[in-house]
Symmetry: C2
Subunit: 203 residues, 2 copies
Amino acid sequence: MSLRYALLALLTVEPMTGYDLYKEFESSVGHVWHAPDSQIYPELRRMEKDGLLEGEEISWGQRGKKRQYHITEAGVAAFRTWMNGTLDYARVRDPAHLKAAYLEWAEPDAAREQMLAHIRHHTELLQQWHDKVREIEEGASPMLNRRLAKVPPEQRRKTAAFKKFTYEGLIARAEQEIAWANRGLALIDELYAEPETADAGKS
Amino acid sequence: MSLRYALLALLTVEPMTGYDLYKEFESSVGHVWHAPDSQIYPELRRMEKDGLLEGEEISWGQRGKKRQYHITEAGVAAFRTWMNGTLDYARVRDPAHLKAAYLEWAEPDAAREQMLAHIRHHTELLQQWHDKVREIEEGASPMLNRRLAKVPPEQRRKTAAFKKFTYEGLIARAEQEIAWANRGLALIDELYAEPETADAGKS
DNA sequence: GAAAACATGTAACCGGTTACATGATTCT
DNA sequence: AGAATCATGTAACCGGTTACATGTTTTC
């Protein structure tokens, strides 16, 4: 159900179309919550039916039109309620660590490749998140700037600080994952390249 | 589809019933991959149909019976193939960080409570994982011991090392999450308890 | 004129969750 | 005798993914 609140979060800034929101899910919010367009459009309809949003047909060019949604008071209240409530944490389900636990079943090169893939994956994320933090620090994030413009001055510091705090957490996590995978590479080397204990016995 | 491979991983040690496997999912593998019994039983049936397992009716007490599954050669091959292949990483979907990004919408106490809940959650996990590592180090893990007994001597070191490596990664992650939430608490205090800038303006 | 971007959906499927349902055995 | 544990499922639902489908507008 977090998709709904991610959408509400964005719509507290300004009215948007499904496509606008989808674009945001490919960049800003997409860094903490991903959603494909095929999930966004129907969810917006449901949210409208539930009174959290109001949609308005807007013409676009000659024949085209688009539907712009703005958040209702009920929507703001729902978002606030969600923000004040507690989350329940999902049970662990982590394919990378599941595989790591049985890495003795993989060929040494395949095992190394898993660790390298883990590093590549998290390095990419790290890059994105670093860029985001820099954007926030330089005041170069369009979405955040529009949000800040809407918010009373005393709140601006908080708004920016929590965004930065979020990305810093993600960065620390990615760095940890990279460090772990590097330890994995070292471990694989240690376990498989042992020249002196020349035990030729093979299974 | 990881459930299937988690089940195969366990069944490489010895034949088990659905209930045995379910118990393991509450303790050992459950730490990296959770699954409820209602998912395990039908999956075992499907795996049998796919030739990865063979089930055998075993009588239990007077009238009772249970179905014990053992892995087939095809099952071992499928597991090995999965272990040698690469994983694709799911897109980020992280409710805790999503909420953190908009924490200015929560009451200060609610914001603190989120951070405390984050700390509590990860402290619990940390506890479990530390216990697991200790168990591995002391050779007190029944499942791992049975696995080690089945494996050729040269492999034992690897088998235990990768388990420990996995848990150490989870521990480092949990510690990082706790550190992040503590930084969050400090940030909330800093942002909300600012006595000198007595800006009485409220929205 | 073609390609990229804007715009909005439906449908089939899949993995996972929650609730329901039942009964046997073993332990105290 | 009753509780805990062993044992095995079904069914409804839900959130998310992938594929399909279509058309407009803007940019090059």
